[in-house]
Each structure stands twice: as structure tokens, then as C-alpha cells.
């Protein structure tokens, strides 16, 4: 009995030590990649999502090529290509730049489809009312359609942010010292592999919950007065 208690105490103590290291040294890098990557992803998703429904052909084609190219290959391959192959073509980027830009563009390519789907889901009657009142297409998009689409985008966007979080682990392969990199480093120093990777997984899990919580709050904020949400009617 005391043997079991001892093992459990050991496990917890070691795990705590691991957690301290991962949080102190790995977490900031993970968060940096997430922050930068999210910005890139949002910009790319909006540009390409709007591009896919635009009537301006070059914009539409570029968006389609971007979306198909980044969705059709995996994030790891993209990271490698931009970090190892691109220098051959004369452009050398730092690991952090590659991490942020590539993971951002990768997430953004899925985001573009979310944006496009949400815009197309806004009822046609909204466009007609806006047109009838005299709005230009741009005004209608900005003031009437996008605000309604935005609400629909939030749940899938939350999932994509969690995908981005998971993808930050891939950045260890190009030398970024984020959480998983630190975990691997610890593994070579100590033999506590079970504690190390369990803690790492739990840390990611908690971060994912934080993201989900944040998105749910954003959704509630944006949904003021809308049907089906608190404060709105039932229509």
C-alpha cells in the first residue's frame, strides 16, 4: 500500500517538475506561434474566402490555387519545404517566420472554406434587401452579409484554432523550441518518458479547452439579440 502511494507521489512530483519546465520554456514559444499564426490565418482566410465568391477573376483564381495547394498537402511537408527547400530558390527565412507563416497559411486555407460557406449560407433575401435599398455590393458585403456570416463562422473557427494549436508541435522539426521540443529535450536528460508526454498531452488539452471557452464567449458576444441566443427572441 505504501509502495503504491510512494509511486503515485513520485509520479505527481516528477510530473510537476516536467510541467514547470514545459510551461516556463516551451509554452511561450507555442503561444508565439499560435498568436502569429492566428493573425496570418484570419487574414488569409478572409482574403481567400471572399476571393472565392468574388467576381474579380484574378482574385478568385489566386484564392482557389492557394486553398487547394495548402489544403492538399500536409503542414509538416509545407514546413519542411519552406524551411529547407526555399533557400535553394534564394529566400531564407528564420524558423519562427516559417512556423508562423506556414502554419498560418495552412490553417487559413481551411478557414477560407469556412468563410466561403458562411457567406453563402446567408439568405439571398438579405442581399436583395440590401441591393433594393441602394447599397453597393461592397457595402452590402461589409455591413449586412459579413456580420451575419461572422456569427456562423465561430464554431468552425474554434476547431481550426485547435488544429493550429496541434500543428505548433510540428514546429519542433524545424528547431522551434516549443512545448513538444522541450518534452523531447527532457526525454534525453531524464528517463521519465511517461510523465513527460502525459504532462505534455494534458497541457495541450488544457490549452485547447481555453481556446474553446474563448470562442464560446466570443460567439455569445456577437449573438446579441439574435434568435436562439439569450436576449433574442425565439423566431
Amino acid at each position: 500500500m505504501t509502495g503504491l502511494l510512494h509511486s503515485v507521489t513520485q509520479f505527481v512530483a516528477t510530473s510537476w517538475g516536467v510541467l514547470e519546465v514545459l510551461v516556463a520554456e516551451g509554452l511561450p514559444v507555442t503561444l508565439a506561434i499560435m498568436a502569429g499564426g492566428s493573425v496570418v490565418a484570419v487574414v488569409a482566410a478572409l482574403a481567400a474566402g471572399l476571393g472565392r465568391v468574388s467576381r474579380i477573376r484574378p482574385w478568385r483564381w489566386t484564392s482557389t490555387i492557394y486553398v487547394e495547394a495548402f489544403r492538399g498537402t500536409s503542414a509538416l511537408v509545407q514546413l519542411f519545404w519552406f524551411y529547407f527547400a526555399l533557400p535553394r530558390l534564394g529566400v531564407t527565412l528564420s524558423a519562427m517566420t516559417v512556423g508562423i507563416v506556414v502554419l498560418g497559411l495552412n490553417t487559413g486555407s481551411y478557414g477560407a472554406e469556412v468563410v466561403r460557406g458562411a457567406i453563402q449560407a446567408v439568405p439571398k433575401g438579405q442581399w436583395e434587401a440590401a441591393t433594393a435599398l441602394g447599397f453597393t455590393r461592397g457595402q452590402a458585403m461589409r455591413r449586412i452579409v459579413l456580420p451575419q456570416a461572422a456569427l456562423r463562422m465561430i464554431p468552425p473557427a474554434g476547431n481550426l484554432l485547435i488544429e493550429l494549436l496541434k500543428n505548433t508541435a510540428l514546429a519542433l522539426t524545424i528547431g522551434l523550441t516549443e512545448i513538444t521540443f522541450r518534452a523531447q529535450a527532457l526525454r534525453s536528460e531524464t528517463l521519465d518518458t511517461a510523465e513527460i508526454f502525459t504532462v505534455a498531452l494534458l497541457l495541450y488539452f488544457m490549452l485547447a479547452q481555453v481556446v474553446s471557452f474563448g470562442m464560446r464567449r466570443a460567439e455569445r458576444r456577437l449573438a446579441v439579440g439574435r434568435a436562439g441566443y439569450p436576449g433574442g427572441g425565439g423566431a
Partner: protein, 218 residues
């Protein structure tokens, strides 16, 4: 131009060897995900409260944590507990387990989509719960989910390069090795990207065609 065509042709055979391993890992992982996902779906449906809650949390946990870390866990931690696996087996296990969380969701929505009246009719006719599930509900639940499962297969294919990090010599790993050997990464990595792109575009079209076809069949 910085591109070396003769180099490109010379590395192609080695890369294709890697592609074979990629496809092996993809399909084996998918098979595993299909089976385990069904286990989760069944438990979510029918098991007593605590077990069901545990599975719900487990599935959520697997889905929201990186596949890479899960692979590391399987590859580095299991040996300490006595289970030593080859990189490929560990990779297949990792892919299968990770994606079982997704297939479970697909199954769940498929099962939920079967009208409740089917369950009622079967019960009234005297079928037991398990029989109802197996003979009446499942055959109706699965066909509409095939396109969604197809998309999961494509996702597994795109995640297979992660196995390179646990030393499986699939497509990306071959490219890395070639690149390191010859100090030229541009051609191998670009070829890898192109191969992935072509294969996933073809499979996506196929899955979309399946969606249309399955909707017409209804």
C-alpha cells in the same frame, strides 16, 4: 534556374518506395480508425453512465491533442511498459487511435440520423437492443457517412508524414534522407509536395463524386 532535372529523375524511384510505405501506413491506420471508432460510438450509445462519460472525455482528449505527441507517447513510453513496437506499427497505431476519435463522431452523426421510428419498430417486433443496432440501424447509418469517412482517409494520408519523426521511412522521410545525402532539398521536397497534392486532389474529387452519387441513390 536552380532546379536540377537529372537529380529529380534519379531520386524518383527512392521516393516511390517511400510512397508505398506511406500508403501502407495510411490504409492500415484507416482500418484501425474505422474499427476503434465504432467501439467508441457503440459505447457512447449504449454503455452505462460512467463508462460513457469516460469515453466522451477520452475521445475529446485524443482529438484536441497533437498527433505528434501521441506518436511519441506510443513510440517512447510503451517500451518502458514492456511493449516494444516497430516504428511502422507504432505509427499505424498512432494514426488509427487519433483518427478513431474522428470516425467515432462520423458514426455518431450517422446513427443519430436514423429516425427514432426505426428503433421503435424493431423493438416492437421483438428485436433486442444489440440486434436492432446491428441489423436495423447500422446498415442505414453507415452508407450516408461514407463520404465523410473518405475525407478522414484523405486526412490520414496527409498526416502520414508525421511518421517520419518516429523514423518510419515513408515519403517525407525518404525525401529528407535524400536531401541530407546530396545536400539538395529543393527537388525531393517539392516532389513530395506535388505527389501529395496530386493524390489528395484526385481523392477529394472522388469523395465529392461519392457524395453526389450517394445522395442520388437515396
Amino acid at each position: 534556374m536552380a532546379w536540377d532535372w537529372s537529380y529529380t529523375w534519379s531520386i524518383l524511384p527512392t521516393l516511390l518506395k517511400g510512397l508505398v510505405v506511406t500508403l501502407e501506413a495510411t490504409f492500415l491506420g484507416f482500418a484501425f480508425a474505422l474499427v476503434v471508432g465504432m467501439v467508441w460510438a457503440v459505447i457512447r450509445r449504449g454503455a452505462p453512465g460512467p463508462l460513457r462519460t469516460a469515453v466522451v472525455w477520452l475521445v475529446e482528449f485524443i482529438r484536441s491533442t497533437p498527433l505528434l505527441v501521441q506518436l511519441f507517447f506510443i513510440y517512447y513510453v510503451l517500451p518502458q511498459w514492456g511493449l516494444v513496437l516497430s516504428p511502422l506499427v507504432a505509427g499505424v497505431l498512432g494514426l488509427g487511435l487519433h483518427y478513431s476519435a474522428y470516425t467515432a463522431e462520423v458514426y455518431r452523426s450517422g446513427i443519430d440520423a436514423v429516425p427514432k421510428g426505426q428503433w421503435d419498430a424493431a423493438t416492437a417486433l421483438g428485436f433486442g437492443r444489440l440486434e436492432t443496432f446491428w441489423r436495423i440501424v447500422l446498415p442505414q447509418a453507415i452508407p450516408p457517412t461514407i463520404p465523410a469517412l473518405g475525407n478522414r482517409l484523405i486526412a490520414i494520408f496527409k498526416d502520414s508524414p508525421l511518421l517520419a519523426v518516429i523514423t518510419v521511412t515513408e515519403l517525407l522521410q525518404q525525401a529528407k534522407l535524400l536531401g541530407a545525402e546530396n545536400f539538395r532539398y529543393l527537388e525531393p521536397l517539392t516532389l513530395v509536395g506535388v505527389i501529395f497534392l496530386i493524390l489528395s486532389l484526385i481523392s477529394s474529387r472522388f469523395v465529392r463524386w461519392m457524395e453526389v452519387w450517394s445522395e442520388q441513390a437515396v
